[in-house]
Amino acid sequence: MLAGFVVAPFLIRRHRRVPPVEMLLMLASAALVGEMGFAALLFVFRSKELILCQPLIYLMMGLSVALWVEFVSVRRPPSPHVRDAA
């Protein structure tokens, strides 16, 4: 889930901007930590909160895998479908 953060700085440096995948990973983790913090400040984190967070958890895993795939395939030019859609 958090593995994407290991390679994200290198990819950001390579692109000289924050590409959509890295940005989504940061937003998703901010939202997840925010939800956990919000629940901890006011009450507890229950299965109800987990249902809400479930898409974020899967999303962060997928984004991390995508970042690692891009990182290890460094010599290959990024696919236009993947990178330059923005």
Binding site: F38, A39, L52, V69, A86
Partner: protein, 445 residues
């Protein structure tokens, strides 16, 4: 045109077909295997939907957005609970498919597929959409919000970006109205600020557009639904209940030494007529008629308003403190009921703050422990499955029965509670493996 585009997309992307087919198959299997789950808070939500009524204890975006289904059910001459399960599962499935379509624009298609398939067939997610509770809708709106942000980011045309960012703002508000703990998810509504494809001025314009969309939805919700049915522009007047539960979680006692508000609270909770906790007094601002409240307000408004410690101490000294625990919801409910919702909110907020000021280390230790514990997601993972034949039947029995599976006995139940996860999983897999308990006598299980 739209159908042509969709069929062309399906031809180009067989994974999309596999994804949609798998999710629909699993959800169909769930629908024939389990009744629609109406219990606990779900009963309140369902009753509110039947009454087209908002509430000051529960967030009622789920009710508001489900009203078309209730109207459709009414038009078809059937119970809303006969339609809700199908619409809810279909909406959930569609949200996952939309997320897949969005994600594959920024990450490889196969990874997008591997994210969305388990998400779409996750037992907890499927079961959440099989209840009259709002959590499934929050998750669905979150998926649509993320999708809208991604579509905005990856669109080439300015007009499309504007529309998708506006959509992100509206969806952010929809999620918040569905349940207020959606607040941190609004991070995705500010995506236009990070859109490298736009200059700074259009980024701010897009953000303002998203905010205006959100405000428009809020205004519609408030003016057409919430205010007319509750008589209040405040969305929630039940924070005090949560505050006191948090004090209990943090092991912060309610003692006279905490402060003036706490002493007032102890006096009032001892002297007001006892009543069991429940959502009834929060249905609208004046759910308890003024004729009932007036004598209590007249007698106690002076105590509520005073800042004179001696007056409060005298009242406290004159009565025995009989309650073993002043943090129980049964203790705070009479204050909201007999003195008013706003009055209760103000007093309970002060009680909470006094508890925090006196025991800050306990509160902070609890926040830290809760935060760390919440990171162990598997401990919160609980497919909330109704278990036919175990609990008592209720009047909702006939509403919840799937029409095409008459042998399935459908019951609502009080609460399954946190059964051992492994056991729940075994039960879940067992039923699906058979497949579906509906094809076998439920006494087997």
């Amino acid at each position: 045109m739209w159908i042509k585009q969709a069929s062309a997309e399906l031809r180009r992307d067989p994974l999309l077909l596999i994804l949609a087919g798998s999710i629909l198959l699993v959800r169909l299997l769930y629908l024939v295997s389990y009744p629609f789950h109406i219990e606990g808070d779900g009963e309140t939500y369902y009753a509110l939907l039947q009454d087209s009524h908002a509430h000051l204890l529960h967030a009622t975006g789920y009710i508001f957005f489900s009203l078309p289904i209730r109207l459709l059910a009414s038009g078809l001459g059937t119970e809303t609970a006969n339609l809700l399960p199908y619409f809810q599962q279909a909406f959930s499935a569609a949200s996952v498919v939309v997320l897949y379509l969005a994600l594959k624009r920024v990450i490889p298609r196969w990874i997008s597929f591997l994210v969305c398939l388990p998400l779409g067939i996750d037992a907890q997610m499927v079961a959440a959409a099989g209840t009259s509770r709002p959590e499934f809708l929050q998750a669905d709106i979150l998926m649509l919000l993320v999708s809208s942000a991604v579509f905005g980011l990856t669109s080439g045309r300015r007009r499309e970006k504007t529309i998708f960012y506006l959509g992100a703002g509206v969806l952010g508000m929809a999620g918040y109205l569905t349940k207020y703990n959606f607040l941190p998810m609004l991070a995705f509504s500010v995506v236009p600020l990070f859109d490298a494809g736009l200059r700074w001025k259009p980024r701010f314009h897009s953000l303002v557009g998203a905010a205006l969309g959100a405000l428009a939805l809020f205004a519609i919700f408030l003016s057409t639904f919430h205010y007319p049915t509750t008589g209040s522009i405040q969305l929630n007047l039940e924070h005090g209940w949560i505050h006191l539960l948090k004090l209990k979680e943090a092991d912060i006692p309610i003692l006279p030494e905490n402060g003036l508000a706490t002493r007032k609270y102890i006096v009032l909770s001892e002297l007001l007529p006892p009543m069991a906790a429940g959502p009834a007094p929060w249905k609208k601002i004046n759910e308890i008629p003024e004729s009932i409240r007036a004598p209590f307000r007249q007698k106690w408004s002076g105590l509520l308003a005073t800042n004179n410690p001696k007056e409060v101490d005298d009242a406290l000294a004159a009565l025995p403190q009989r309650r073993p625990d002043y943090r129980h919801p049964d203790v705070l409910t009479p204050i909201y009921c007999f003195l008013g919702l706003r009055e209760g909110e103000k007093l309970l907020r002060d009680v909470f703050l006094e508890g925090l000021r006196r025991f800050p280390e306990r509160y902070l230790a609890n926040v830290r422990a809760t935060f760390v514990r919440s990171a162990a997601f598997s401990e919160s993972y609980m497919p909330y499955l109704p278990v036919p034949g175990v609990y008592q039947p209720s009047p909702h029995f006939s509403w919840a029965r799937p029409g095409f599976s008459p042998r399935v006995p459908a019951f609502t139940n009080p609460s399954i509670g946190p059964s051992p996860r492994r056991k729940i999983w075994r039960r879940w897999l067992f039923r699906f493996g058979i497949p579906g308990h509906g094809f076998f006598p439920f006494s087997l299980f």
